[in-house]
């Protein structure tokens, strides 16, 4: 008897809750579904900043009833349903929260915040600091945590406004581009909101984000943006980004090349695994980065008849080349960028204690970093002309 009563009370409470929740639900036609947003800032003379945040909003075109014939009608209507385009709604205000109010004033539907797949932060806004942005997005529990962050050259609005054929909006295109970029260039794909949040908050980590540009009439992934704290300080070109990603990520895939002339080269499609060891000698830290490459030869016009013997020769040459690339990069990192873009501070902090007030950027740049490279060939392909 008692159990019955409890069950009934529980059910009543549940129904009440569900009903109350349901009241807020509105059909999708009455909502502005957003696929991406950008962040631009306009600096005012007084030193204050005006945030301007454009939203890409899907727009569903009405079905067009066409034709009278049975078969043609079907074909035409199915085509019309798939048609989708997007629109941009911009809002400007002195703080990011207030842009929501401003945006509502010139849009005809209520906007759901947090569904975005992509965010494009303009270079200027990123150098000004992305802390406020990350906080407002993260504190909303309905946000899509897997949304990807990117930095765009010029104005973010221009990148979002860019029409890409075959896609409803350029945000969808960028989303696919970044998610699939992991197959080459050793890109790790860890640019989601959660990753950004973790990178900003933990000791010895620095944030890197993809850098986009409109080049030759298409949106291109041209490098990586390097952050110190919440501010962007450098943009690395793709060549350097490749080496950085190789040394930074746990795993990565990419193509390495040994080249002697325009027709004489060898392409090596490899997967890399990284291991970091850290030692402290008195005040100086020593890092050893071990890189294990394993992969296939895709294209070879450099060595005639690779056999078991000259396989090891190739492996050695490749090792040397990669080591040189890495050392060049490390030299540049220590002397030019002066930040720990390989997250080495994290390893040291894990071993020798956190929250000791150490500036890891400085410590890492003054430390010894050794790179040990191992190259292994899996397959050579099915023959060679």
């Amino acid at each position: 008897m008692k159990i019955k009563k409890i069950v009934i009370i529980f059910l009543v409470a549940l129904i009440g809750y569900v009903y109350a929740d349901k009241l807020k639900v509105s059909p999708v036609e009455e909502l502005n579904v957003s696929s991406g947003y950008g962040v631009d800032i306009n600096k005012e003379l007084s030193g204050n900043v005006q945030y301007s945040i454009p939203f890409t909003v899907y727009e569903f075109k009405k079905k067009v009833r066409l034709g009278t014939g049975g078969t043609t009608k079907k074909a035409a209507s199915s085509k019309a349903v798939g048609e989708q385009s997007s629109n941009i709604i911009e809002a400007k205000a002195n703080s990011i929260g207030q842009t929501r109010e401003d945006r509502q004033l010139n849009s005809s539907k209520s906007i759901i915040i947090g569904t975005q797949k992509i965010s494009v932060i303009s270079e200027e806004a990123a150098s000004y600091g992305i802390l406020n942005l990350i906080n407002i997005i993260f504190s909303n529990a309905k946000t899509n945590d897997r949304g990807i962050f990117t930095i765009g050259k010029g104005k973010a609005e221009d990148i979002l406004n860019f029409k890409v054929e075959g896609y409803a909006s350029s945000a969808d295109y960028i989303d696919g581009m970044i998610r699939n970029a992991i197959d080459y260039n050793f890109i790790s794909g860890e640019y989601t909101l959660l990753d950004v949040y973790v990178a900003l908050d933990s000791e010895g980590k620095n944030l890197v984000l993809p850098y986009l540009e409109i080049k030759d009439k298409s949106i291109t992934f041209t490098g990586m943006a390097l952050f110190k704290g919440d501010k962007m300080i450098y943009v690395l070109p793709m060549e350097e980004s490749k080496v950085m990603n190789m040394l930074r990520g746990k795993k990565g895939k990419g193509v390495l090349t040994l080249q002697e002339g325009p027709e004489k080269y060898i392409n090596y499609d490899a997967m890399v695994k990284k291991k970091v060891k850290c030692n402290r000698r008195e005040e100086k830290y020593e890092f050893t980065i071990e890189l294990d490459f394993q992969g296939d030869i895709k294209d070879n016009t450099l060595y005639k008849d690779i056999k078991k013997e000259n396989e090891s020769e190739f492996e050695k040459l490749m090792e040397k080349k990669i080591e040189k690339m890495c050392n060049d990069f490390l030299y540049k990192m220590k002397n030019v960028y002066k930040i720990d873009c390989l997250n080495l501070g994290m390893y040291a902090a894990a071993k020798y204690g956190r929250e000791t007030g150490v500036d890891w950027n400085e410590k890492v740049c003054n430390s010894d970093i050794k790179v040990i490279v191992k190259v292994k060939i899996d397959k050579m392909g099915r023959g060679q002309y």
Binding site: N87, S95, G97, I111, G129, N132, I134
Partner: protein
């Protein structure tokens, strides 16, 4: 009873027959193809001198083509009275006018200043008109708004009415700027009509404020900042964002829902109004207060600061209202009239402007979000 069943039924049938046959006008039914169904209408005037005024009423409708797609058609009627504009418009179009589904009246600013009583009257007299249509005041000529192409919509009247409907999410808008409410509050004692004010900015239609009427004439246009405060004090249960900002990086955004209560007292000849404003909501972005989630003192400090700021905003607005606009923007006269008697010949605008208005603000936090870096 059972015995008389047949007789009752027969009498009922007969009387129905007679009523239908002799009484009233027969229902006119027309095919939908023969009607011009208007989606929105604008009202404007052209002045040709002191007393020479011509009304200009452009209507917007969807012209349907054979393939099912819609095309925007604008037809304008001009005349010295609004009734005459109908005749004038009828001359230009092929179908019968049908105003029953109008969603929106765009009232031009100039006409609103002149007085909207004629349009209210002619609309109210017509029982077929949609009472839920929105009244919107616009800058410039209403044709400009109707001429705008908006992707995803067949015509801009649908777009603007959707815009007003959904404005309730932010800025403390109430969204009840409909014809029926305007009719009720235009002549009610101590009440007044407000309606959103739209402009074309950067080639987009945007709500930029609120027009406030005194009786049937537009008395003031408030900018967005004042509109927010007025809405907050005027309406009950509305939503919006409030901000305390130190500089571009240090600020706190607070998304609140308001509850408002007005009490009125008469001391001597002077009225004293007390507006209790309860704000409850979430913090959506915070860079200003450290540890707001963990320390109760910080939370209390924020609530205090926010209450203080809102109070300051409100008293600044009330000063402006009393000495600048001199209109009872908050419908306080209505509250006083309900308590101390109507039809006493009091000009509530004047009384409210000379009364004491106190605002008590209480701020409470619901949630602070799921974390902060």
């Amino acid at each position: 009873m059972k015995k008389y069943k047949n007789i009752i039924f027969t009498i009922f049938l007969c009387s129905t027959f007679f009523i239908v046959f002799f009484g009233g006008e027969k229902m006119k039914s027309l095919g939908v193809e023969e009607l011009d169904i208007y989606a929105g209408a604008g009202v404007g005037i052209d002045k040709y001198g002191e007393a020479d005024i011509k009304y200009r009423v452009p209507g917007i409708l969807n012209g349907y083509k054979l393939d099912g797609s819609a095309e925007r058609v604008i037809s304008t009627g001009v005349g010295s009275t609004i009734g005459k504009t109908r005749e004038d418009r009828q001359k230009k179009i092929g179908n019968k006018l049908f105003f029953g589904l109008v969603k929106l009246y765009l009232i031009e600013e100039e006409y609103a200043k002149f007085g909207i009583r004629p349009i209210m009257d002619i609309t109210f007299k017509n029982p077929a008109v949609n009472n839920d249509l929105f009244l919107v005041v616009c800058k410039g000529r209403s044709e400009e708004y109707f001429m705008k192409d908006i992707s995803g919509y067949d015509n801009s009247a649908d777009y603007i009415s959707d815009m007003i409907k959904n404005s309730v999410n932010y800025n403390f808008f109430k969204g009840e700027y409909m014809f029926k409410n305007a009719v009720l509050s235009m002549d009610a004692e101590g009440k007044n009509v407000v309606s959103p004010y739209i402009e074309i900015l950067e080639d987009e239609i945007k709500i930029t404020g609120m027009g406030v009427f005194k009786k049937d004439k537009l008395a003031a246009i408030l900018d967005m900042k004042d509109t927010k405060i007025m809405n907050m004090l005027r309406e009950n249960k509305v939503k919006g964002i409030l901000t305390i900002q130190k500089d571009s990086k240090k600020y706190i955004n607070y998304e609140a829902e308001s509850k408002r209560k007005i009490t009125c007292e008469k001391i001597g000849d002077k009225y004293v109004f007390t507006i209790d404003l309860n704000l409850k909501g979430d913090i959506i972005n915070n860079e200003l207060y450290k540890d707001i989630a963990s320390k109760i003192e910080v939370t209390e400090k924020f609530e205090e600061d926010m209450a203080k700021q809102v109070k300051e905003m409100c008293s600044g607005f009330l000063e402006k209202m009393k000495h600048g606009y001199k209109v009872d923007l908050l419908q306080l006269g209505w509250v006083a009239a309900a308590k101390y008697g109507r039809d006493t010949g009091v000009d509530w605008d004047e009384v409210v402007s000379n009364s004491d208005i106190k605002v008590n603000v209480k701020v409470s936090i619901d949630s602070v979000g799921r974390g902060q870096y």
